[in-house]
């Protein structure tokens, strides 16, 4: 720990609560536990922490959050890992303690399914709509004279057509 005062305690009551709940007693426990068992490495702790979010620091994964409260959460994860808990057990523990919002994504149940199902449905619907609109437009109105004239122009062999198109576009670039 560094000597400078760490941030946050004063800023949010929640942090205080968190710190009180997990704070000093926990630190002692962790140090003891670590002393007794093979210490889980920082990488092992971060692998779990990366999938979790604390309720205070919005949208910052726990493994990179610099606040004191999050450091204590990571210590808690280390302790649980040392106690032989699995990744899933630890995640479940945090969910029970602090609710679904500690997970990086809403758990797939109940209303939460809407978050997963709605976007693909809308995109699919959009795709179908576009397909039908295009088909209807293609089958629809007769082409105007101008259109027909341009159609006739646009059919010569590929290379000539490309040169013609390029030149025409360069000439008519003004709009």
């Amino acid at each position: 720990m560094s000597s400078i005062p760490r941030p946050g305690f004063h800023r949010n009551l929640l942090w205080l609560v968190l710190a009180a709940a997990l704070g000093l007693p926990l630190l002692f426990n962790v140090r003891q536990a670590v002393a007794q068992r093979p210490t889980p490495s920082d990488d092992e702790v971060n692998a779990v922490a990366h999938q979790l979010y604390c309720p205070v620091c919005e949208n910052i994964p726990l493994d990179v959050c610099p606040t004191q409260a999050c450091a204590q959460w990571r210590d808690l994860i280390r302790q649980k890992l040392a106690d032989g808990w699995s990744e899933q057990q630890i995640k479940d523990y945090f969910v029970v303690q602090y609710g679904d919002r500690v997970l990086a994504e809403p758990p797939r149940r109940g209303l939460n399914w809407v978050v997963y199902v709605l976007p693909p449905l809308i995109i699919l619907g959009g795709g179908i709509l576009i397909f039908f609109v295009l088909r209807r437009m293609r089958a629809g109105r007769p082409a105007s004279a101008a259109m027909k004239a341009r159609q006739d122009l646009s059919l010569p062999p590929e290379e000539e057509e490309y040169v013609r198109r390029l030149e025409e576009e360069l000439r008519n670039r003004e709009r």
Partner: protein, 687 residues
Amino acid sequence: MLANFGYSVLVITFLLCLYGAGTAIYGGLKKELRWVKSARSAMLLTFPLITLSALSIILLLLTNHYEVQFVYEVTSNSMPLYLKVTALWGGQAGSLVFWCWLMSAFASAVTLRKWDRDIEFLPWVIVVAMVTLAFFLGLIIFVENPFARFWAGPNGEQIVSFLQPAGAALLTPPDGKGLNPLLRHPGMIIHPPMLYLGFVSFVIPFSFAFAALVTGRTDDRWIRLTRRWTLVAWLFLSLGLLLGGRWAYDVLGWGGYWGWDPVEIAAFMPWLTGTAFLHSVMIQEKVGLFKRWNMILIILTYDLVIFGTFLTRSGVLSSVHAFAQSAIGPLFFTFIGLTFAVSLALVLTRWNDLRSEGQMHSLLSREALFLVNNLLFIGILVVCFWGVIFPLVSELFTGQKVTVGPPFYNRATAPLFAGLLLLMGVAPLSAWHHSTARTLGKAIWKPFAVSLLVLVILFANGMRSPGALIGFWLAAYAACVTLYEYGRGVLSRHRTAHESYPTALVRLIARNRRRYGGYIIHLGVVLMAIGIIGMGIFQTSTQGTIRQGQSLTLGEYTLTYNSLAEFDTPDGRNVARAVVTIDKNGKFLAELHPRRDYYYESQQPMTIPGVRSTIEGDIYALLVDWQPISSQGATFKIYNNPLINWLWLGGLVFILGTLVAAWPDREREAQRAAAPRQASVPGKASA
């Protein structure tokens, strides 16, 4: 007093906006030019007025008037001059004033153009600008007052109010809290202005669309008039997003540049609809299709701009309670709802006028592919919008708060982005009107074959990740097609006009800036995609606590901890700076200085990485923790971020391409000014 002056000016400007909007509507409906001219004068007057008010805030900031709450929140005695000035957009109230200032500048500039045959648009353009401005000024005056002051009440309590409460005396703290240290970075100083410039300049094309709807001139005149505005808006928004990413990478100390945070998404959403709009207006100009869709896109962009401004500054979407309690949230939503409803109602009343002029010939034609492009952009928008909104929905219906984080967005948007890369490799080769599988196939096979070669090489070199193989192949394919398009153009000019290759290339770009500038943008996107895929799939990291002289290993790299120094700086920071060396396979590579700055005033730490950058990637070292007394042990985290610099390089190319596409063309302007008013003639335009 300066605060009173600044506030009074804002109130006058607010009233002026209401007057301007009223007279513009009256003048527009009655077709009386003198009313419109009066509204225009009001519009032009807003700029110097808001300038005065903004200058008042800047003066207050510079002269340390800590009795003003905003000044207290964002500055302190120890802050350097330039930071005190830029602190104007360091807090919500000031940044709203800054927003209004930019808005009035852009709106004034647009009313100063030669209107000639488009004069009927003018009143409605003014109405949109004035109503938007009035809304934001209203927010500042009634809700987020940057001139509110601290008062000591008769019973010793502290009151924040603009006007002096009865029996209260002005309270002046000796020092301010100082700007959030995260915002004291060059990237953060120019990032918000860029974003805001992007936001406000998107209001201009919307105002013309609105004018077109009201006046019934629903041909593509409004699109042609605002083409450059749209590109400029898009340029600034892109720059803002890129700078924001770079800032996050340099300052936030988590080894990444984009975290799918609601604030980031807020700025990204109008960019998505804006990009879709930039593509789809070409269909309307070229073949007269999808007029209604373009209207809807620009309306969406406008409202997403307002939504983005709201989200980036307030953050109240984090919970239902914060939203309900904030005065600003419901006001924003009402404004967004009203403007959306009114605009949509206008589109519906003009529904028949907005019928397509042309027709679709082939499902493989460029116009059809552009439509698929729009679907993909809107798809990404749906994912983003829903992801940002869902936590609120969930809390509202179940009481349960949820986080919608990066895994959700990455999974949902990756296939859509891949689709866009694929389209970038198909659409440029398809023709307007007619394209069959045969003609398209003929054009595609050469670049396709080359890109397959890239795939084979990657596979032979041991790359096995399916995501990376698909991603890199798509990027290679899109790059091949874009370069092939350049090659074909240059060759054909070389052959037909007998120009040398370099001349042919320069002329090709100069004579169709929009298309070839667009292709440069595509190349930029390809480079960025390479960086994003490289970083996203191959990033590795490790963390460990080591003593002096000990090492931490990540793949072929080792980090050795040499020393650590802790010291105070004159600007109120405590700095802990480590010296580490990075070796690759035992060979010295670089000395890095990861550090942790602690700001005493704001009691906030900031993690500054030590980075070694090459085109291969970055070695990015963070000082996570350290033992202060003996300086013996310190915790470091190292990231290997492969190909990340391709992202920044691609960003530069991207911006260059946008500049090429948007650069004014004097000759063309002159021709356009001389041309008589005409309805859209499909086929005459160039894409």
